[in-house]
Subunit: 100 residues, 2 copies
Amino acid sequence: MTETTKYTAMALIMKAMAHPTRLFILDKLNEKEHCVCELQELIGSDMSTVSRHLSVLRNAGIVDSRKHNNQVYYRLLCPCVLDVYQCMIQLRQEDKGLTK
Amino acid sequence: MTETTKYTAMALIMKAMAHPTRLFILDKLNEKEHCVCELQELIGSDMSTVSRHLSVLRNAGIVDSRKHNNQVYYRLLCPCVLDVYQCMIQLRQEDKGLTK
DNA sequence: AGACTATTTTCTTGTTTCGCCAAATAGCAA
DNA sequence: TTGCTATTTGGCGAAACAAGAAAATAGTCT
């Protein structure tokens, strides 16, 4: 298995996305940037948990943040990551259609 | 956070892909179908480990398998999952170009 | 049936992830 | 300074994940 680093790097990004809450966040950030408390409101879990999720996404280079007053606004750096969503939906449909 | 199930389902698929070895496998299966021992040869880890990875991908509905003699051939069900690869590469490039 | 090959499953161990609580940090306002 | 709000970070227990060794399964061949 050559080019191991290539797949490791990709896996890091995929892993960062591989969580329901984080996929939800990316979907929201695709519309417009949001601060942590707005997302926390929408998600419903502890603010620290939401902040953790956001830092995971930032470490993966998927989102970026800026500070305005005492709020931190996050925005989507790479909207292309959402392209997978269509494929996921397609996959789910196919699964439903399977006999076995 | 409404539509939780939607994001949970997508996360299952993403999680299945979020591993270097499994990304490598998908890349290989995109060319043509392969049996477990062929993949094991390419990857180098234990055959049981490779088989496990394949079952993760199959459970997620990304690949399918058929039995020929005493070998099991896996094939990619949904090539569209590989579209993310381009975005990953793009993300990596951007990261390199960042100053901070 | 018995040997052999390919694959899957079980088990065990070590690592990572998750989510909350509590404490720390930062900025604004009085 | 003190208080208030928004956010991040450290710590901890629970759950999920990963990988190899060994045992179990299934199919082929003689």
